[in-house]
Symmetry: C2
Subunit: 457 residues, 2 copies
């Protein structure tokens, strides 16, 4: 009897069309239980979040072999699709034949009980086989595609900015060096000191001034010993940059991008999102839908400081209650503004120059810059952006003061040769993924997390 080669995904998508048909599948056993008269295998082939239930009985070919198949084993099978409208699962497969494609040792670390995320981090090469990490890494992939699709639909050019660079950000010393085995001259390969990039922005700006709308999406690195749930030493960043675009245009694109990404994931991963809403955070989907349906509000930093001062006066408790103009806001302050005051997404704009990067556009007031941070409930800052300082003299003055002009002459060139108003923003992709899934630790959204004092793979 001919069998139709198919996948779990196709079966769940069109199960009615497969009714009473013979199908062939390849994949892995999640669990196998046999009570003598009837046995059940929870089967997953990696194409879909839900398992297909395989059923076998005393008269199934090689019954004893099938009943003895171990969790984690790879199998190839044929069987008949039976609709089961009375059950939770809309169909199951009556097994015809099973071939063992790859056995699984008895010390398989994924047993039926629930494992802690800490334990699963130690087996990063195995954890994608469990429900949570199937869901996390499928959404990681879908969200990546959403990013590319969003910018592609808008005509943005994708630029691969370099990972190895001579630019060490603002010289803050939190960079990884890139060296060779030559101990006398570890920088001999390029003939000068090089390090891993902390941002693609400086390298992508010249492309915005050539192609108008561009973006990078790739890995960046920070050698910071910040042992928090939100810091990793290697992560992916999305950095769009747009010529002839001011701060308002920038915020329009940020808002559209975040809404697009959330909608895309909700639409394309309903099973995974339902899982996160049930198992991780039962306010997740509601919160994401609220963001999608909100008009993002705007508040200046100066207004925000006034609001926070009043809150303290009225008895609101912060860990840091010393609120003053010029301070760097903490997450608790950002969350208060977005959760308690605006009750939704909020752009905080026009920050004091002193706490923002050198390349941001000085406002006419002489003390703030045209920056915009997007704050969202439950997280705080999700996106950071700004209009860029396009005036050569102003920018060079700031860079000279910081002592970073040497080696960045090429960056200054962009202001000499047809520079114009331009803006851009950065989204930490891993944090966006945490936000969309509700996962609380950055180590649980990266395939092989990279944090200080921890590297196994």
């Amino acid at each position: 009897m001919e069998s139709i080669k198919t996948t779990n995904k196709e079966l769940f998508t069109n199960f009615k069309e497969f009714a009473n048909k013979n199908v062939a599948l390849q994949g892995w056993i999640r669990t196998n239980r046999d009570n003598g008269n009837i046995g059940f295998i929870e089967f997953n082939d990696g194409t879909f979040f839900k398992n297909v239930q395989l059923v076998y009985g005393k008269d199934t070919k090689n019954h004893d072999v099938v009943a003895g198949l171990r969790n984690g084993a790879a199998i190839e099978l044929t069987g008949t699709v039976k609709l089961t409208p009375e059950n939770k699962q809309p169909f199951e497969i009556e097994l015809n034949e099973v071939v063992l494609a790859g056995d699984c040792d008895d010390d398989y670390p994924l047993q039926k009980k629930r494992h802690s995320f800490e334990f699963l981090r130690e087996i990063a090469h195995i954890r994608p086989r469990g429900n949570t990490f199937q869901a996390v890494f499928r959404i990681r992939s879908v969200l990546s595609f959403a990013i590319h699709q969003f910018f592609n639909e808008r005509g943005f050019l994708y630029v691969h900015t370099p990972e190895i660079t001579t630019n060490d950000g603002e010289g803050a010393g939190n960079v990884f060096d890139v060296t060779t085995h030559d101990t006398k001259d570890p920088f001999n390969f390029y003939g000068r000191k090089v390090n891993l990039t902390v941002t693609g922005q400086l390298h992508v700006e010249p492309f915005a001034l050539s192609f108008r709308n561009v973006y990078t999406f790739g890995p960046v690195f920070r050698a910071e010993h910040s042992n928090t749930v939100r810091h990793a030493s290697e992560f992916w960043m999305i950095e769009p940059e747009m010529a002839f675009c001011d701060l308002n245009g920038n915020m329009e694109v940020i808002e559209a991008c975040i809404k697009y990404c959330i909608n895309y994931v909700l639409k394309n991963c309903p099973e995974e999102m339902e899982f996160f809403n049930t198992m991780i955070d039962n306010t997740l989907i509601e919160r994401l839908k609220h963001v999608v349906n909100s008009e993002f509000k705007k508040l200046t930093y100066t207004e925000g400081i006034e609001v926070l001062k009043n809150a303290v006066k009225n008895g609101v408790k912060f860990e840091n209650s010393d609120i003053f103009w010029g301070m760097d806001l903490q997450s608790e302050h950002e969350r208060y503004l977005t959760e308690q005051i605006v009750k939704g997404p909020l752009f905080l704009i026009d920050y004091p120059s002193g706490i923002k990067a050198f390349y941001m556009k000085e406002n006419a007031d002489g003390k703030t810059v045209a920056a915009c941070d997007l704050l969202v409930p439950a997280v705080g800052e999700l996106v950071g952006g700004s209009q860029r300082e396009e005036r050569y003299d102003v920018l060079k003055g700031k860079m000279d003061k910081l002592g970073i002009t040497e080696g960045l002459e090429w960056y200054l060139d962009t202001r000499k040769y047809g520079g114009c108003v331009h803006s851009g923003f950065g989204i930490g992709f891993d944090r966006l993924l945490m936000y969309v899934t509700g996962m609380q630790n950055i180590r649980d959204v990266q395939p092989y997390p990279r944090t200080s004092n921890s590297i196994k793979y």
Copy 2:
């Protein structure tokens, strides 16, 4: 009078709809020439390969200012679209008003004359404004999207494998180390020696054994002092990996992927491809179309050696004419097979184990492995792939012999826990881009090329 905000791309796509309408554009002046009665600006806004011609006359507002606008300057303009069916360009714009958005200094390095690629490499931040590099980097972006689209349509999961790793490939010593400023203990950050990855394959295999079909697409690094036109120390790799897939299945996906990419670029970048065909290599489009319409042939390495031996016997001259079974083929040999013998794309399969990587599947003959290199005319090797050794004992034996088992126990685990037949391949993205554009030097397809003794940005 209201003006319609638009772009060069929209104008060229729908110019008839814009006839006699007022439009507003923002972009850059490529050239400006005024002969007194009439003046012409070649204008490009980065959204489309072709320039829009702006026309002005004595009666244009601020005529003298317009006539004095410099090459490279950023402008905002309004004007009226006039169809010019008698000219090469189907339309032009009669200027109404021009505002200078960003001036360009007199020492602008892109002058009207043609510049050498060598010269342009020294101004990597400016060269995207010229025709060649507008075309190169647009196709780089379009080709990247084609890759994602191809794998997305086939249900492949995109995995971000890590850049920083403890795995140094086969210990060949051609890796970059990742260190901190602590001179006494430069590896103190992670607590052990780490380096930049040379391949994502080992890290992506566990995901194939969880999700079935997966791929990576990201930067990899080689600290090789190979000063050739095809070697860079940092480049992007595409590495798909498929469970329940043998060598033949692997070759089907490679063939489909290459054809998809070429078709996608030919369809989406006709202007750029026409430019390359005219300016770089006038056999380019014909050659690419031939590949798309070819059925990819297969030949074993052993057969290939026989063919090459016969060729030498019959007087064919190679730089290396010492042909023997077990040798590593040079580009001249590969090109002879694909260009002279098969006259089209060719999979060379079943290579001697001794010249291929440890993870490739040993064939039953005990001396070859199930590898497949795709060779194409004019270039030689374009893709390398193989079925993977899924037998734990065989793989461990080879790894022990090489002394690389320690630290890769997790990789071996994948063979213990439901491992199965699986295969994958690697495409050097930058070389694929060279192949598709006809560009001859890898330095001319990377936004900021990274080769030994050369890093400026």
